[in-house]
């Protein structure tokens, strides 16, 4: 009993849950936009790495973490175009292109790290993204310790989820996106440009994955390291599916997965295996796909190339 109170009664567990969930939620939200328009995005892992690296590089060069953030987002968009163009124009297999980007990005960022910074890693005087303290809120016992003081991007993420939900379900452009992802031929018939909407969806995905990467390198961890995303892009993919391709669903499942990660960290030193706890996100995703607790269904045209001539 004492053990449970020690682990689960500690507000730091929940603060860490929020911090761990942020990169997942950002990338999952981006993936939602990409897949809602019909382009499968398994490239989040690679795009996060690119964002993480260029975020650090520009932050070091300009002495500004915010310019680093911007650079990471732009790098994310550019990388995502390497998915968008063959997926949209050449009708290539989106899963395989995504895999190519992941392999390429992992190799390129490791190569650049070595070439630009040598074996010592990124500089220790890198400007990091600021931690924000919300006055008043931080004073509330327990809750204040959980959400009163977090990294800038944690709050940005929470706002973006709300904005993302609004855009996707309450605006004209959101309706067009969902239409293109469900039935591109029908959307094209009423004058929606399938090509442009898909570029937009994938770019938003790239931007948010890039942001997630910057959060890792300039927020959660100090600097860039080889393959530092460590599978988070794939967990984000799982969060998106478990969240049924919706912004709020993505956030909730990211929080759940973030909790599993935070828990497995806080369990280090106890007899319970962190590895077994760490399986939770993956098990839950399979459960969600097999429909044991509410079936998760992909957009109908997700992953299917659109050929206008047909």
């Amino acid at each position: 009993m004492n053990f449970f109170l020690q682990v689960f009664g500690n507000p730091e567990l929940y603060a860490s849950t929020l911090a761990m969930a942020t990169p997942l939620a950002l990338a999952a939200l981006g993936g939602t936009f990409s897949e809602r328009t019909g382009v499968v995005n398994i490239a989040m892992e690679g795009i996060m790495l690119v964002g993480a690296f260029f975020g650090v590089m520009i932050a070091v060069l300009t002495h500004s973490s915010l310019l680093g953030l911007l650079a990471g987002m732009v790098a994310g968009i550019i990388t995502s175009l390497a998915l968008a163009w063959p997926a949209i124009r050449l009708q290539s297999d989106q899963v395989i292109i995504g895999m190519a980007i992941n392999v390429f990005a992992g190799g390129l960022t490791a190569f650049l790290l070595n070439t630009v910074y040598g074996y010592n890693g990124t500089p220790t005087n890198t400007p990091f993204l600021p931690t924000i303290t919300i006055p008043g809120l931080v004073k509330i016992p327990f809750l204040g310790q959980v959400i009163g003081q977090q990294n800038l991007l944690v709050y940005v993420m929470l706002i973006l989820v709300v904005v993302g939900h609004y855009v996707l379900f309450h605006t004209n452009i959101g309706l067009q996106m969902r239409a293109v992802g469900e039935h591109p031929e029908a959307a094209a018939t009423v004058g929606v440009s399938v090509v442009n909407i898909r570029y937009l969806g994938v770019s938003i995905g790239g931007m948010l994955s890039g942001m997630a990467g910057v959060y890792l390198s300039l927020g959660l961890l100090n600097g860039f390291d080889v393959n530092m995303t460590n599978g988070r892009g794939y967990i984000a993919l799982a969060a998106m599916i478990f969240g049924k391709w919706t912004p709020f669903g993505s956030l909730l499942s990211s929080l759940l997965f973030g909790f599993a990660i935070a828990l497995s960290i806080s369990l280090q030193g106890y007899q319970v295996s962190a590895n077994l706890v760490g399986m939770l996100p993956y098990v839950l995703t399979i459960v969600a796909l097999t429909g044991i607790i509410g079936r998760s269904r992909a957009p109908l045209a997700d992953g299917i190339p659109y050929e206008p001539s047909k």
Binding site: G107, G278, L289
Partner: protein, 356 residues
Amino acid sequence: MKRLWKALSLPLYAVITGLILGAIIMAIAKYNPWSAYGSLLMGAFGNPIAIGNTVSGAIPLMLTALGIAVAFRTGLFNIGAEGQYWVGAMAAVFIGYNFASMPWYFHIPLALIAAMVAGGLWGGVIPGLAKAWVGAHEVITTMMMSYIAILLAHYMVEKGPMMQQGFVPQSPPITSSATLPTILTNSNLSAGLYIALAAVVVVHILLFYTSFGYKLRAVGYNAFAARYSGLPVALYTVLSLGISGVLAGLAGGVQFLGVDYQLTDTFQSGYGYTAIVVALLARNNPLGIVLASIFFSALSSGSQMMQITSGVSANMTDVITGIIIFFVAADRLYAYILRTFRKKQVIAVARKEVQG
């Protein structure tokens, strides 16, 4: 001859494009691409031991890629072969360090069969049934199962039943009766090579000379037509993913009986992912897989030498690999470029005629 060229041209284009773009990136970073590729080649094929290690590295790639190719031929994408490789490795090592009194001609086959069964169940049962019954996409389920397998492997040697006595997170080493003999002195090359080559022949025959293979391919070619002609598509889905897992599991078994001998706390072989690239580049042809797996093994075994002698980070080979996959998948790119080029030519000719 024309058919052979057609089959070879795309992979060849992709490899050449990858090497050229890799050289350009190296040149931009102020390295000498010639000396980098030269040292890579020397590292991979420079002496008999290097050749032995390159071929040795191709063995798990070959076996895993065969499995991925079987799934691809059935229209299924087994992206989780990495995890199936590790469950195979766990099963083989577990049998390998138990039953020390068993003669080798029972011990080795038992360990390898355990590896195959483990891999087959991991890849076939949950992803296969989930796909067959509720249509859950196998890309996601095999990927998730792969992560679960790797965490399970960590658990096994960190706190679980396979941890060796002491404080180092690793399994006990397998006994000599379960060890595959080395066939080239001072190299990693084990008798696993014969197993891999036998598997190539078996899969080739299975796919192209049996009615079972014909049906697998029929499901992959057109699942609707296959269903209407009375084929139990669900059964073939489970079997195909199962065979895919069997071969990935066998890869893990052969690697640990022949090269690694015990589980240590790093579970990142990368074979499962590189094998996808191998299968893609070989266009799911078993004989092509032999060549493609030696190519990628050479990239990886030569990269260390490249890093030491020319200073180019060994990760450069991942950059090249990524580019190669990209260009294999974007297969319409070459036609697209050609079409744009011809269009320009036609326009130029037309313009001349109008003006002339």
